[in-house]
Symmetry: C2
Subunit: 430 residues, 2 copies
């Protein structure tokens, strides 16, 4: 059988592993596919920086490589350009693509899907979300006969490492971030991770697949973890909760029955008994709730060159099999075209800690503010009876806008010295 | 677009849900597939027993139904015949099949796969193992570029319910089985579950997919849970372990480097810190270890009409998409053709409890028996110094045959009054 020619675009930690496995596991992969894969070339910017791959395969001319009778592309360059133009052109010429590029998909997915659709090429991207964990294929294929209602994920290893460490040691955010950097879990510029951009791109991809609706990175409400304090973590612990950065994709039913999609990323308190609470260190896990299937959880390594290469190669084998079988994988499914609900309308719950003048006298005033904003209180805890008393309030579910306004109004009360912690609560019934 | 005609064979709890969802979710499924699905008929033995499905679709003539221009079959009859003959004939005529029939696949899978292969039809069976949990598609597609080394699963809800309850209440096996029957978690004849037949069929399917090797039900070493006593559970608890019925599929490397496959089902002690230890009640979970992906876990509902229908419909949508796209799903992959290793050769670890005459004098004799069989001892715990002393031994890894022989020899020692518990230990380093 004629070999299928594979072009590798980019050669960082994932690309290097893909090149190695394509070489070392060539015979096994050929047996599984029914034809050998031939690594035709590796496009990089600076060939001298890649001594660990076959030197004769390196080229700086990605476009030229893609014009050399290529069947399949693995794209691990990252970023928008030149990946976007290279992949769109290749897809429109019928070349199938496997990519790990979450930002590209979250920003420009639809134009790539359309190019694939028109030519009959495949585009697979399992590695773009939750690394080695098989997640996108289950969502868009295994659950394709079901109705997904909610996807709640820990999809960023760096932030999960930091929050887990803060929970274990009681240390503050800044010193824990520094420690994560020293250990190799945070990059020199950690903004993509700690400010939630990485998780938001993944949430956009998950929401698009789960709800058959186009959801881009700009549709995702995003809050990072840099404001999470050791006081927040301690407050969570006292209530039997822990803090996780969650990517939440939810089907929301309005009062008149119409459905919309909410996609959001923020740190939230979840009960320690929740299955996501035990996911420590740099691991990823995603909890999926569907009408018929019920609750499912997927757990594994969300990053790293070797685990991510596993997801890339799985997609590559699938795309290669399709090339031989003559069919193609699932296309973009955006027929539901649900409205994306703004964060202000989205029902959430808040945990609020206040430093107050005197608890006995304050509660009535605070409760009046909640009532005025139609926010119902679930739990109140009062500590101390002195000038430095502490009041903790957990709300029932209410629109986020009403909760925000409530917090602002409370902060303006004379009897409230300070709002010491505001955090959303997830993973328990409202 | 012309409708794809679906024949439903069987109408028990799963079939009834499939029929309901095909009707209620028809428009949504059509949008996802690109063509509507038409439920062409439901073959049952006694139509009068199925008042909850459209009566005009019921027929007792399955063969006739399958001759009426059918595109796709959902088979939920169960058992070997008539499912085997009906499906083999339909597949050879190019009709794609979705089945939840684990016993049929574990007994006669290869002849069905061959029929599908020759005609170009699909056969999908996600629902056959672990119900609603997307597991087979991840193993044979997402991990198709990786090397799976081990699959360890809790794949039978009835036995997990019983063992979890025994662990929580301290009650014995017989009364807990009765309780499970009262609550609807065990059938009137529970043998298929408690004797491990159900789990063994699933292990055969998992091992076949994970190791690209034909593994049938007869290749799976099988032990059920009816011998598990409250004393075993208590002994596990004392060592920080719990007892689970595990289906284990393992790639074993012999001393000369050749690989074989071990597939086995038995109750075993696992550490309480293991991810599978927390899987309680009737839930299923499967832990997969692969070279590149590392450790993955999949968790969810393993049985029940509605969850299982989710898996069936996911396969049906996939098979329908393939019918439209012109390709087909992954074929049987048995190229590795690894040897199936007999249980006697398979390395395991034992936990052994003994009632002995006098610990101080006995240990030397017992240790000599272990040494003679070349079984290395990892932990010894002695309790009591009287005529009724107790000795607990946990071994290092050794061939199962040597462990069995050691237990037999120890049982024959004069100083050993009784071997009170023998159980394998899994989920920790050897």
């Amino acid at each position: 059988m004629k070999a299928l020619r594979v072009a590798l675009l980019g050669c960082g930690t994932v690309g290097t592993e893909v090149a190695r496995l394509l070489t070392e596991e060539g015979a096994e992969l050929a047996a599984r596919i029914g034809a050998p894969l031939e690594l035709a070339g590796i496009a990089v910017r600076r060939p001298a920086r890649h001594p660990e791959v076959p030197q004769d395969l390196l080229t700086t001319d990605a476009e030229g490589l893609l014009r050399s009778d290529i069947d399949l592309i693995v794209e691990v360059i990252g970023g928008i350009e030149p990946a976007r133009t290279l992949l769109r052109d290749a897809l429109s010429r019928g070349i199938s693509v496997v990519t790990a590029n979450k930002n590209l998909l979250a920003e420009c997915g639809p134009e790539l899907y359309e190019a694939a659709d028109e030519s009959g090429a495949d585009i697979y991207f399992e590695a773009a979300v939750a690394g080695a964990i098989p997640l996108l294929r289950p969502i868009r294929e295994s659950l394709s006969g079901d109705r997904i209602n909610r996807v709640t994920g820990i999809v960023n290893g760096t932030t999960n490492f930091i929050l887990s460490a803060m929970d274990e040691t009681g240390a503050g955010y800044t010193e824990t971030l520094e420690e994560a950097g020293r250990l190799g879990y945070a990059e020199a510029d950690p903004s993509s991770d700690v400010d939630g951009f990485d998780a938001a791109a993944k949430a956009a991809i998950l929401a698009s697949l789960a709800f058959h609706t186009r959801v881009g990175a700009h549709d995702v409400h995003r809050e990072g973890i840099s404001e999470v304090s050791s006081a927040d973590i301690a407050a969570a612990r006292e209530l039997g909760r822990t803090v996780k950065l969650l990517a939440i994709c939810e089907r929301v039913r309005g009062e008149s029955g119409e459905e919309s999609v909410s996609a959001r990323v923020y740190p939230a308190m979840i009960p320690r008994s929740h299955q996501l609470a035990g996911v420590g260190g740099a691991f990823n896990a995603v909890y999926v709730e569907a009408d018929a299937a019920g609750s499912l959880m997927f757990f594994g390594q969300g990053a790293g060159g070797v685990p991510t290469a596993s997801a890339v190669l799985g997609d590559l084998v699938t795309a290669a099999r399709n090339r031989i079988a003559g069919g193609f994988g699932p296309r973009e499914s955006a027929h539901a075209a649900l409205r994306v609900q703004p964060m202000g309308e989205t029902p959430t719950r808040y945990h609020i800690s206040l430093d107050v003048a005197d608890v006995a006298g304050v509660l009535e005033q605070v409760a009046a503010v909640f009532a005025k904003h139609e926010v119902s209180i679930a739990v109140v805890r009062q500590e101390g009876r002195t000038a430095d008393a502490n009041l903790v309030i957990v709300t029932h579910s209410a629109p986020d806008r009403a909760l925000r306004a409530t917090v602002d109004a409370i902060a303006g009360l004379d009897v409230v010295h300070a709002v010491t912690s505001v955090m959303r609560v997830e993973g328990e019934s409202t």
